[in-house]
Symmetry: C2
Subunit: 282 residues, 2 copies
Amino acid sequence: MAVDPSLPLGVFDSGLGGLTVVHALSQALPGEDIIYLGDTARVPYGTRSPETVVRYAQGCAAVLVRRGIKALVVACNTASAVSIDVLRAELDLPVLGVVEPGAQAAVQAAEEAQRHQREPVKIGVLGTAGTVRSGAYPRAVAKISTRLEVLAAPAPLLVPLVEEGWLDGDVPELAVARYVEPLIAQGVRVLVLGCTHYPLLRPVIERVAARIAGAPVPVVDSAQATADALLRYVDEERLARHPAPTRPRKLELLVTDLPASFEVVAARFLSERLPAATQIDL
Amino acid sequence: MAVDPSLPLGVFDSGLGGLTVVHALSQALPGEDIIYLGDTARVPYGTRSPETVVRYAQGCAAVLVRRGIKALVVACNTASAVSIDVLRAELDLPVLGVVEPGAQAAVQAAEEAQRHQREPVKIGVLGTAGTVRSGAYPRAVAKISTRLEVLAAPAPLLVPLVEEGWLDGDVPELAVARYVEPLIAQGVRVLVLGCTHYPLLRPVIERVAARIAGAPVPVVDSAQATADALLRYVDEERLARHPAPTRPRKLELLVTDLPASFEVVAARFLSERLPAATQIDL
């Protein structure tokens, strides 16, 4: 796997939620060019069968590889959960998903929380139906620690709440409580945001979880954990762009559909000026 | 357009919500065979651009036409709103959408409601972003009555609420109130369910609208109105299956993806025994 460090990082997601990963990457690796592909014509992946998600993920990866990238980041939790092994087997470049870094960060947070209480701390994962059904987070945690129990709960309503921009108020509070309450009741004291949309609801999730648990509940953002993991990887493998960048990094945005809501929704996830998006066919 | 009355009716929808139309058709035309295609690999259409929805609708229609149908019912409001003219121009068979029958039923309900109050009765349409942005309902109403004002509001959270099975309780009540309140405040006294998912929330919508308006608000179900319109059409055009059916009617179910939640979600929309679904590629 000899890769050219001057190439951009490739990032794909089922839609625009993966721009939260781009945002985290931009802060961790500010000099790196990024090509982002959002499969907006077929979003969401979280409700589809694993076979279909694998097929869609292969298609997205192929587009980015053809354009030339030095590493592939699967920013979608569902695609990471069901397609990462296939992509790693098929592609001759580093492939990073969001599940393993998220699980790693959750284990750290759980071990830290365990120091302050006697009962075993459990990790709770909020995700799409596809991510939860795949069992990817429990498997990833088990590879790091066999003592930590993981409870995953599908929270499908949180994605449309974010897309609708309902980030606080009665409806998100009640919906989050409905998903989080059973997890806390079963001993969960660390929550993983297992979907790229959820970081926008982080304040509500933290508030609701703390109220139900009677104490702060650490919340792990897989997007942030992935950016941190990629930063370490780029350093270790000497993949950083060199010579030192003399121009601002480029962000290229590809989408498979350009709905009227595109700019409003994209701006929710990416806290920087949005580049013009190019529509492609898959 | 010479069609063979022994052929089935073809129905397509972006996903499984169109099974509410199949349910209404089965009651209005109990002897007719039906082939239903749910584009579950690309659902939802309501957030996508018109160009993409037209392309998807053409693909769905082509599959059904190739199998042999005597009429095509576009059960998806978004697809009806943006693709019905294209499909009618391209296909050599009767094409019925859900928007025109829904608008017709809404006009009748509004004229009835107008007899009981002095202020002008307005029609409110709840629909997906794509349906609302298309302006299809206001256009369809204007063709029937130029005096009736139509206010359409996107209500995107109602689809995931139905898919999640949250059909009553705090969250749907509050979400529906948030969508319906501004419509009632602007004089809406008839509501159209402009998405095949919404009939499952009809009790909540009726209750919330009546509470806000201080009086019952008639709620028009486009699925039901479409079944009634097709019944009239089949009668007028002598399209009914003949000789009189001696075997139970057949319902064939095609989908483009078979997620694990398929049976649970499909059963919500179709109140009869679910036939086995065949997965096809589009």
